[in-house]
């Protein structure tokens, strides 16, 4: 039979004993932990701005990108490419990007694949324009979420990188990207993507495509710097992003984006 003193003692011990394991098994949030330990967060968040009115489809950006980032020149893969959209007055949409527009667009014929070409008469065109594409360096990158080995990741300045030594080549990230910017590098056989020329932007240079563009259709900037010309345009002018419905929060902004652009 338990007496009053023993009962109270055991109750106190029991409560104390329960409290300790509860505190011990609280799940550690790495972000909270890092926020508590680091003195300041990154002051840089790279973003990209494309002015589709200025793009003439010369393809110098694609040429420069392939050379700068050592993507085999004749392989039909590229980190950035330019798409041509032609809308006819009948309401038909044609789009092509032969070789990713590495050699520009030097014909009126639209490449429809498998050796088929469609020539559209000048009078039939309602609107036609060029849209450069590249990695959106999403704020919520789905490609990073699906990597099973931690080979692709986002740096604190927002750029998504691929660790070639760590990538196992499973291709999940290539399937996960809604923008189709990822591919296998023909030489390294690992996932490959645009990284805003990380080796250049971290040295204070522009990306190879921005530098090569004669018309200023491509711009790169730091959205965390309010005086950055790119930030000023994004925050004060009408800009669009691609496939916002996916919730990926893409960070490549477009001026003059048309609803036909996918």
């Amino acid at each position: 039979m338990i007496n009053r003193r023993e009962f109270l003692k055991n109750t106190v011990k029991g409560i104390a004993g329960l409290a300790v394991p509860l505190a011990a098994i609280e799940i550690i949030n790495p972000r909270k932990l890092h926020a508590a330990n680091s003195s300041e967060k990154s002051k840089v968040r790279w973003v990209f701005l494309v002015d589709t009115y200025k793009c003439v489809g010369c393809g110098f950006c694609v040429k420069a990108c392939k050379n700068e980032n050592e993507i085999p020149y004749d392989a039909n893969v590229t980190r950035t490419w330019v798409e041509r959209y032609v809308l006819t007055k009948e309401g038909r949409l044609f789009a092509d990007s032969p070789k990713g527009a590495r050699d520009g667009f030097i014909t009126t014929k639209i490449d429809r694949g498998l050796g088929n070409f469609q020539d559209i008469k000048k009078e039939d065109i309602k609107k036609a324009f060029f849209v450069p594409k590249l990695c959106n360096q999403c704020e919520n990158p789905p490609c990073v979420q699906v990597c099973p080995v931690g080979a692709t990741y986002q740096t604190d300045d927002g750029v998504v990188l691929v660790d070639r030594t760590w990538c196992i080549g499973c291709g999940y990230c290539i399937m996960a990207c809604p923008y189709g910017v990822r591919f296998f590098h023909p030489k390294y056989h690992t996932a490959e993507k645009c990284n805003f020329c990380y080796h250049r932007i971290t040295k204070g240079m522009k990306t190879a495509c921005v530098q090569a563009c004669p018309f200023g259709a491509r711009m790169i900037g730091n959205i965390k710097d309010p005086n950055d010309p790119v930030t000023k345009i994004i925050t004060t002018e009408r800009v669009g992003v691609l496939k916002s419905e996916y919730g990926t929060k893409p960070q490549v902004y477009y001026i003059g984006l048309d609803e036909e652009v996918r």
Binding site: S38, G57, D156, H199, K203
Partner: protein, 157 residues
């Protein structure tokens, strides 16, 4: 419990222990959770340096200007001033030491990137003057008549 249950269980535990031991040696020390948390920031930190160390190939117009100021000044007086030297001359990399000579792209296709006429009403491509490559001296290269650094034929003909 009977030993025929324990024995394979020992083997399984042993394999797991070996895998964990191998992991300790195989996974680099800087592999772990970084700034963007577990979902986006789980990686080998040394890889950021690997990417930063990639060689810069396109050096830009100002790099060329140091040794070729006359060429840069002459093209700057023309509409071609907006074109980077390396778009036609190729990436400088470590020129003049490596490569000592750059391969210039003088092809018709190079000029047609902009000067093939595409009358696209909502693109500024339609504002660039173009030629029909099948009718405009199809057999010779553009640079036979037009100097890319001074493309206008005014005063030459």
């Amino acid at each position: 419990m009977k030993s025929h249950i324990w024995r394979p269980l020992y083997a399984v535990v042993g394999i797991i222990a070996l895998a964990l031991l191998a992991r300790v040696f195989y996974v680099p020390k800087d592999f772990g959770i970084h700034e963007r948390g577990y979902m986006y920031g789980w990686y080998r930190e040394g890889n950021i340096e690997d990417w930063k160390n990639v060689k810069v190939k396109y050096q830009g117009k100002n790099y060329c200007k140091d040794c070729h100021p006359d060429k840069v000044e002459s093209i700057d007086k023309t509409p071609h001033a907006i074109i980077q030297c390396e778009n036609c001359h190729g990436p400088a990399i470590d020129h003049p030491s490596d490569p000592p000579k750059l391969a210039i792209d003088r092809s018709r296709q190079q000029c047609l990137r902009c000067h093939f006429p595409l009358a696209y009403p909502t693109s500024s491509r339609s504002k660039i003057r173009g030629i029909d490559p099948e009718k405009h001296n199809p057999d010779i290269e553009c640079v036979m008549c037009h100097n890319p650094h001074k493309p206008s034929l005014k005063g030459i003909k």
